[in-house]
Symmetry: C2
Subunit: 310 residues, 2 copies
Amino acid sequence: MTSTPVLASTREELSGLLSGARRSGEPVAFVPTMGALHAGHASLMRTARAATAGPVVVSIFVNPMQFAPTEDLDRYPRTLDADLEVCAAEGVDVVFAPSVDEMYAGGFSHDSVRDGVTVAPGQLATILDGASRPGHFDGVLTVVAKLFGLVRPDVAVFGQKDYQQLVLVRRMVRDLCLGIEVVGAETVREPDGLALSSRNRYLDAGERRVAGALSRALRAAQDRAPYGVPAARWAAMSVLKEAATDGLELDYLALTSPDLGEPPETGEGRILVAARVGSTRLIDNMPIVFDRIAPDARPAGTASAASTTS
Amino acid sequence: MTSTPVLASTREELSGLLSGARRSGEPVAFVPTMGALHAGHASLMRTARAATAGPVVVSIFVNPMQFAPTEDLDRYPRTLDADLEVCAAEGVDVVFAPSVDEMYAGGFSHDSVRDGVTVAPGQLATILDGASRPGHFDGVLTVVAKLFGLVRPDVAVFGQKDYQQLVLVRRMVRDLCLGIEVVGAETVREPDGLALSSRNRYLDAGERRVAGALSRALRAAQDRAPYGVPAARWAAMSVLKEAATDGLELDYLALTSPDLGEPPETGEGRILVAARVGSTRLIDNMPIVFDRIAPDARPAGTASAASTTS
């Protein structure tokens, strides 16, 4: 199962490594990452590996354009050697780990990049994480477009963990006719429910306990979703308010449709949360199914059944 | 020499027609147009035909996103039958002529498209035609990106006539790593120098005579360019001011570097003009080579020599 991926650090090396696959018509599967790889990334790679007999490409690039000047770009963990081992264990063929200058010719600055041609993410980038992190999704979609241009994948795998990013990448592929199949892979969680994230390593032991409130809030909402959107929201807020006394600062809790519009009264939706624990900003989300069962009309035990199937 | 191109009006038809070429690895050459084809377009097609033994694809799509609500979208000429004959005569293999709904799923409106993901053209789209036509190049680059996504060409041919568009498309290909060779084909002109344009058919006989001033102004500037940028500008303005008495309304005259920055004191540059004649907006541009020869240091006859070699 274990092979050694080839490391490409320039566009030319990448292009050379993929030219054979291009000629033979084998589909290329792609997993873009910022490195600091964990079991969540490994799961994305397994999804990619299962999607093609051709090459699986993983990119490792901490993209400065998606970090605001005040954010954690410099602090973001870089663990290339360990990352390559994760890729090897998952049968990845090519790891593309370019320098900033390789991805942004002439060097990166927010101003110089915005002087050039970028991807404008539109309305969906003005809400949720986009409201808290202005310009974040311009940076995400621009670098994903660049990586798509260099790798030219047939399939690209993104985690549902970054749900708004996943929705926006799908939208970009549709609106710019990129012809790439975008697969959203399920979030991998710690035993207490905390979604795996490269930023979890910022948390100290006390913060780590508090961070568990995010997934508990989402699950509480799933349990109450059969009683409608307001009941689900109330259930999540109860958990988050309790955690606030332990130092959790809520950024947003949002109940939406699957494509981040208004939540439906009944049927499938999404619940998303962002909060700061200490100096670390964490996000999480889950699918949720709303209904309008009146409390007294509902048989006992249905809530926990809804919880276990979600 | 003459073959009959296959007409595709949906993405699926286009994709089906190109799948054979994709599998065989033959390069695809692409000429995006808005139809109303003339000898200038035919020249682009010949350039594309010469660039590949594989398929030449021409798109015909009057892109609503690059027209402001006040502009000539409805009036823009549509001449599909004649266009197909031009394509046939130039050995084009595939003509892609999609509907607006085919290119903008759910139908086009400026607001709905801007809610989605588009291409942001950056600083170069704020000057010249971009200053006169806000949003124009957002529309151009977005539809070109979509067409590139659907056709996936190896080579794309654009006219130098729309010079700012050519510079911006090259910039998009570079900044978004699209891996497409962009060829800029020389402008085809009427005997009096007027650049061919689908909009020339809007001109009545008197306007047609006045329109000749654009290319005459550019050539006058080329003649005086050995004396420096101010002398070249003055020469062009003299011609344009005279034409103003016949009703030509100047929008801009710009002397720039080849990539539309500040003009160099010596060496290659570009001169660009836009003006309204009657209700028709016309643009033109030419290469220009600046020098700093003092008038008294310059041998007689050099000016006209500079003119004939440009």
